[in-house]
Amino acid sequence: MSILINRDTRVVVQGVTGREGAFHTQKMLEYGTRVVGGVTPGKGGSEQDSVPVFDSVKEAVEKTKADTSIIFVPAPFAADAIAEAADAGVKLVVCITDGVPTLDMVRAAGYLKSKGAALIGPNCPGLISPGECKVGIMPAEVYREGPMGVISRSGTLTYETCDHITNAGSGVSTCIGVGGDPIIGIKFIDALKLFRDDPETKVVIIIGEIGGSDEETAAAYIKESNYPKPVVAFISGRSAPPGKRMGHAGAIISGNTGTPQAKVKAFEEAGVPVGNTLEEVVQLAMAKLAPSS
């Protein structure tokens, strides 16, 4: 069944004529995603890979009935693009862009809330429901359809994890890259709730990292709600020194917050095993799939 996106999802690409936008539009179309339009202000009326280009998201939504957008707009303009999409009536905004100023995101997050739109990212690879729809930049070959829900702050680690899942003979219902920034849209807890209600998803894998407290919040939710499906986790950055930002804007241990120890502890207290390697995580998840005797 999958969550958030499926074969009926209609996607508009913001920044469609840029290098990244054009390349990934082609890849999404190859996958079978319904990319119904694109936006580059000033290029309206033209076409990109047979996708009609519009000057504004509002026009694109009016003309194509797009309900989802994916953003490849450069960092200085990305938050604005998010706001524009929400205002145009897009229900799910996926922002790939890395480097968006934090205060821009504070403003955009507030605006989105008032518009009732959901956001994934920024600084994320997007999401994929294998066999149905890809709204993102992930390598399609790695994914098969199946019962694992995957939520991750890291892009490349999801590719590797899903590759292991495919090699283990299983598959993924939906894989969501929530992104590496401190201010993001959908968090672990939000995706967990969606996976809880998705009949196709039987096990959830969380790939977390140092910084912030989203893992702790997710763990508390799993515990308090008696989460009905098995969850397995991985935390990267366990050897990272405090005070240093490890690539992702949100991956930093500040004082007592964001430590890997706290995250591992929170998960273990919630009955969520934390694998030491991605291989181990997938093994643990596969074991949860097998019917108990």
Partner: protein, 385 residues
């Protein structure tokens, strides 16, 4: 990394924003310290370093005369304080302190909003206060749509139990600091302590100010302060080239595609007894010049005795990465062993290309880690101390 300003720089930014700061001047030699003390009178001499607990470590000293100021400065300049080089000291008017409060503004990730924190427990590490007496910290989130209302600030300072007579001045400081925070794209702005003097004046006795790395492109004036601030030279060079690089303590250089994957590589090394010399994210670039640039940067660190590439090819193809690494290393004179883990798209082709070269291929990250640790260890054994 976010741009961290020194206290004297933070105070300049505060002053520009209308926040009262002590009269003072930053200097780089003892004579200048004496001169400033001569002008001001009783002063504090404060070592400018990016670390807390300066006072206890002897980095903040009271000087009653210009000669004392000279001696304090001499004792600090050019000598390490808590492991940091002291290139500047701030010579400032000594304040007649009646109250010490805390004021901090930062971004609350959970709430997705800017948060303002005020406490009557100033002059202490705020993390300690948060741990032992959290009720003493009054907090409020700012709605980005509306900004700050005065009544919210009146409520905040009252909740924090700040001295009534000083509340209006403090509210003005909070508003000014919030404005500075916004227009400077700060990630953290802290005044600890925010002093109320015996004469009833509110002054920022200390200052901390960090600027969002992602916003530096639009903070050109603040960006100029980066050269002055303390940064590791390799990190500074990498930042100037837009390369995501963080210096660490070990001897194994690490380069990978994706921040999470690189962090995991550091973890795998640690678990196998190795120590990473750095974090370096290649990003989406498999091209020879990106690889070359990143490898050059990693090798600038003299501690590096081996390099580990960890690549999971998605859209990026492993044979392209292999080609990039081969091209890069062909034109560089590298003595250190290099292990390249290739997995994902075209991994077998990539590994095949590395055979017969002096690059060592690996299939899994575990395998690659063990190989490089062994190789670096072997070399280490030959060294005579």
């Amino acid at each position: 990394m976010d741009l961290k300003l020194y206290e004297f720089q933070a105070k300049k930014v505060f002053a520009q924003g209308g926040i009262p700061v002590p009269q003072g001047e930053v200097v780089q030699n003892a004579d200048a310290a004496a001169r400033v003390a001569q002008e001001i009178g009783r002063v504090v001499v404060k070592a400018q370093v990016h670390v807390g607990g300066r006072g206890k470590a002897g980095g903040i000293k009271l000087a009653n005369t210009p000669q004392e100021a000279r001696e304090c400065a001499e004792g600090m300049l050019g000598k390490p304080l808590k492991g940091f080089a002291v290139n500047y000291v701030l010579v400032e008017q000594a304040l007649d302190i009646a109250q010490e409060y805390y004021l901090g503004i930062t971004v609350d990730r959970d709430a997705r909003r800017v948060i303002i924190m005020v406490s009557s427990m100033g002059g202490i590490d705020i993390e300690e206060v948060a741990a032992t007496t959290p009720e003493k910290i009054a907090k409020m989130h700012v709605d980005p749509a509306w900004g700050l209302f005065d009544y919210q600030l009146r409520d905040l300072v009252e909740q924090a139990g700040l001295e009534r007579k000083a509340q209006r001045q403090i509210i003005d400081v909070i508003r000014a600091l919030y404005n500075v925070f916004q227009y400077s794209d700060a990630s953290l702005a802290e005044i600890n302590p925010l002093v109320v003097t015996g004469g009833g004046k509110v002054i920022a006795a200390d200052g901390k100010f960090d600027v969002d790395d992602n916003a530096l492109y639009r903070q050109k004036e603040l960006l100029k302060l980066r050269e002055v601030s303390e940064t590791d030279p390799v990190e500074a060079y990498a930042a100037s080239k837009g390369v995501a690089y963080v210096k660490l303590d070990g001897d194994i250089g690490v380069i990978g595609n994706g921040a999470g994957l690189v962090m995991t590589t550091l973890d795998i090394l640690a678990r196998n007894g190795g120590k990473a010399a750095n974090f370096c994210d290649l990003g989406g670039g498999a091209k020879a010049d990106t690889v070359r640039q990143d490898l050059e940067i990693v090798l600038m660190n003299p501690k590096v005795r081996g390099v580990l590439f960890n690549i999971f090819g998605g859209i990026v193809r492993c044979d392209e990465v292999a080609r990039g690494i081969l091209e890069a290393t062909r034109t560089m004179d590298i003595k250190a062993p290099i292990v390249v883990r290739l997995s994902g798209t075209k991994a077998e082709e990539g590994r095949e290309m590395l055979k017969g070269t002096n690059l060592i291929p690996a299939e899994t990250a575990q395998e690659a880690a063990k190989k490089i640790i062994e190789l670096v260890g072997d070399r280490g054994r030959g060294i005579v101390e």
